[in-house]
Symmetry: D2
Subunit: 325 residues, 4 copies
């Protein structure tokens, strides 16, 4: 790749967090403008994904534009917050049709923001769409509503792209859009050209997928519209620093992107609960650059030959040799 | 349901087993005829699924017919053993085209046996098709071969049904046909009317699915051709006695079948390594009959109303009330 | 057991919750007094475990006493909140000695509340004591601080009991007190008679233990000072309604308590994020009463005989017969 | 460390395997002598751990001695096969006292072999000691027998060391010796100076431990008598090539050994089902040497300072810098 690789991050990387125990939060809350100014301190960050509605009292669009400008950042996507209190039993699948309408409205508002910023997509992460208990839902009705809710948005905004970020679970015990294959099934059923997948490396990993395989499948269906990375212990969406636990599978993931000529932004979706967020982003991006270098020196012919005979040892040796230098 | 529910079992339920530690096996090996005679001792078993090639030196077809007859058993499916030594790097996806041809031949031989026994389907469980290590395989090539291998069989035998039994892993660290959604994607790509899914309750459970939801999805795609049950600890395919760990989700699974009017055989896929196999089958079937009774007394209207508002407590109370009497 | 079984709950069962996505909470926040009034609506609840500091602006001790009185509730334990923002890098193991002192002070304040209410114990749940990343901590130093922090409290308050509620993880990626065996090792090292375990059924389950086995081990060491129940999918601390997923293992857990003559309170530790909390408690307690009935009709002699020969089928049949009626 | 690091392997690394599906094995079976000759082909292997009874018809002690000699190998430990058919319901915990006696006899025979070879220890891996189902066993009786069975061996052979290799599960659904803490509890109860732990990196990892933390705990109790490494996907004992999935935690594990001055053999416990076993061993050992180099260049002072303030980013950066060069 001759073009310089661009890096991005979800702006929530620079927020502070609460959870069900530290209800007073892991730090004082930050406005969107403060987050953007933190993002600007990261060494090599070009784009951000922004939550909508904008976080902070009376944060104006022009103030956001200025903050982005002074930090040299563009917007890649807008993430409507369809997972807060009013959506706690679902956005697209909420039992209350009034709430489903609210979700649709919020996503349409987010679409306007995508147009304003010249961003790439509305990102849909329907984290409250799913179930918690056996017998709680009518699975057929729930899935139909999941599919139709996104299809409706795609039809309402044919000029825009929508990406679905699937995830196995959390906050619901089981999410409707739980895997790459299930999401592709839904997209095929929608038949809409402007709906794709945002593949989160960590979601794939802890859902039992191989992220490289998931990326290949989404690419083969023409639906890999975006991606982000982080890491975890394979049991939960820990959103740790990329390459802190699974560097080899991370490398395989990026190798899959490169071999397919996928040239989008490499984004971070990390939650540095107890860490300095700028340092956490810098650490990740430095490691991603190491991966870029490793991709450049990967023995591609040797790897292909090893894979052609499923020679795990030879393939691993080639990969480790490139990655560990 | 007015018709009497029929019960079935994989004939391997009545085998003895080896594993990588007890290499001398958990008991003396048994021939297919001995297994059939054990199956005949189970109180209420109508059909069996038989591995092919037939286990035991010189076991003839007519001897099998006789054994089935004297035990009042029919054959529901034939399972070609496309996961033994020669297929250790895959059947449909083996790097060696000669081995792929062998797999195809074995499945076609199995198809003949389906015709001989008047069975319902060839069951494909490609347990060695997948990968173990990062970087080991070309995921695109592997998946293409997975899909095409089954499509070829379906085209060669348009008079028969083929069912794919997906499973997350084991013996490969990751299996190609790993989930209900992935398998449905493959079947859609094949475009063959005679390929469906055999849904194993335990595979679904330990793959992170809700088996009830997986069944609904397969039914909605018109592809639930068969099923079997067992139980596990959600981390591995333990093949324990059905209803020994997850009775409520088992109940939800059967409720999903009934509400959709799915009227096939209720089969067992258990591996009683250290147990009396007849006793283990009887224990499971007695519990399945309890579930049948519970289905009859389930407050369907109350359940639907609870689900319509995602009222987990009410739905759970209704389900527990029916199941625990 | 001739004495009437008493039931209890963590008062947080009646709170509303936040998580990292629904940052506006799953409902309007509630004061401790409101929670107590909700607890009073549960059909058969005798005791509660109360977080300290008390939740709500200016909630006085006498107001709490009155609220408990009017709802017929006693206090079984006090849980100091050693897992909020200031303790986000640990309470007993915080790198900052000043914060460790604060944790000690808060626990000593909680001890005074135990004396005020005539409760049974201070409950220690050091959810922030642990680590997130490889290489993040000096494991020897961390574990020593974990042990010594509790030992110090026990020495400072020899008239009171302290219970440690172990848990594998969350909010830290790994908690120091992660399992029954590790906690018992720590208690042995402390050598204090007044430190024991509060065994949470769900923590045990998702930590890969058998809760029945964990309870037996704690009892054999003379350290099972308390317990609570809930349920989950074995991968996370879902805090679902007791008996909603694993009723048979729940039954085995209570059988273990009874056979050992353990006669404490049966407590709930559930988080009904999206459910009516009174209904969720009632549903659980009704199921626990079903378990009490099942214990009364369990074929104890048959079970012991089956266990003496490790006859899983016979043992399971006996257990299911008692539980499913 | 000035002394040259020694490497070892379980001799079963060079066997072929069966599992419950590939019942004809992943290759033709090999005798112990053949395995030793394969082990001799590995570039840098000094010691092996040998199963007892010796594999292969009429393999004599002197033939084994010669095979070891001609391959420049010593014996580090003897592993009695207390997990084959006769022990399928347990060795130390078998319900049949006659089988328990057989287990004791086999271990005593293995002890003689330790003396013959001048090896370090008898390795006990009681893989069949545990349970599969809820209600199957009396947990108190089972655990007592687990502890006493090992204590008896230690008392019978005070001149020798016994190491327990704990593991969460497989082949039993739950193993008695399931974790480092549980095993240490048992050893404390035994009160025998000659019983310790052999810590398997992969067992620790998929049991939810941090292997570095587990090693530290065993060392602090004076009980880390041996270790071996491999890798897995954190859900099962995959016995993959060391450093193929979790290189950073592997590095932390070895850092823990070095900082404590633990100077034993670095052993492999890999199961190359479908791989060339010599190549798999060479690949692993080459990576372990990379780790040795990384240990030499680790910024120890920087790491300690980062750990002293739990600065995950700084610690990770230091570790990655050393490992990835």
């Amino acid at each position: 790749m001759t073009a310089k690789q661009r890096y991005g991050a979800g702006i929530w990387h620079f927020a502070t967090y609460v959870d069900r125990y530290a209800t007073d939060g892991y730090g004082p809350s930050r406005t969107l403008l403060e987050m953007i100014d933190l993002a600007g301190q990261v060494e090599d960050l070009s784009v951000v994904d922004i939550n909508f509605p904008f976080v902070g009292q009376g944060v104006s669009l022009s103030a956001i534009d200025q903050a982005l400008d002074r930090n040299g950042l563009k917007v890649i996507g807008i993430t409507p917050e369809i997972y807060t209190r009013q959506f706690s039993k679902g956005a697209f699948t909420n039992p209350d049709p009034g709430v489903r309408r609210l979700a649709n409205q919020m996503c349409n508002e987010a679409a306007k923001m995508v147009r304003h910023f010249g961003a790439d997509y509305v990102k849909l992460w329907p984290g409250q769409d799913g179930w918690d208990y056996p017998f709680q839902v009518d699975h057929k009705a729930l899935w139909t509503a999941s599919v139709e809710g996104v299809a409706e948005l795609a039809a309402q905004n044919p000029d825009l792209k929508f990406v679905i970020e699937y995830k196995p679970r959390e906050p619901r015990v089981h999410m409707s859009y739980d895997s790459v294959a299930r999401t592709l099934l839904a997209i095929e059923r929608m038949g809409a050209p402007n709906v794709g997948i945002l593949l989160d490396f960590g979601h794939s990993l802890y859902g039992g997928e191989s992220p490289a395989d998931a990326a290949q499948l989404a690419i083969d269906h023409g639906r890999l519209f975006g991606m982000d990375v982080n890491d975890n212990m394979r049991g939960w969406d820990d959103d740790l620093i990329a390459g802190s636990v699974h560097p080899i599978e991370l490398f395989e993931f990026f190798w899959t992107l490169r071999k397919n000529g996928w040239e989008g932004v490499w984004q971070l979706d990390q939650f540095p609960f107890r860490e300095d967020s700028v340092a956490a982003a810098n650490s990740a991006i430095r490691f991603l650059k190491r991966i870029e270098t490793a991709l450049d020196r990967l023995d591609i012919e040797g790897l292909k030959a090893a894979q052609a005979r499923q020679d795990a040892v030879a393939a691993l040796d080639i990969a480790r040799s490139a990655l560990f230098g």
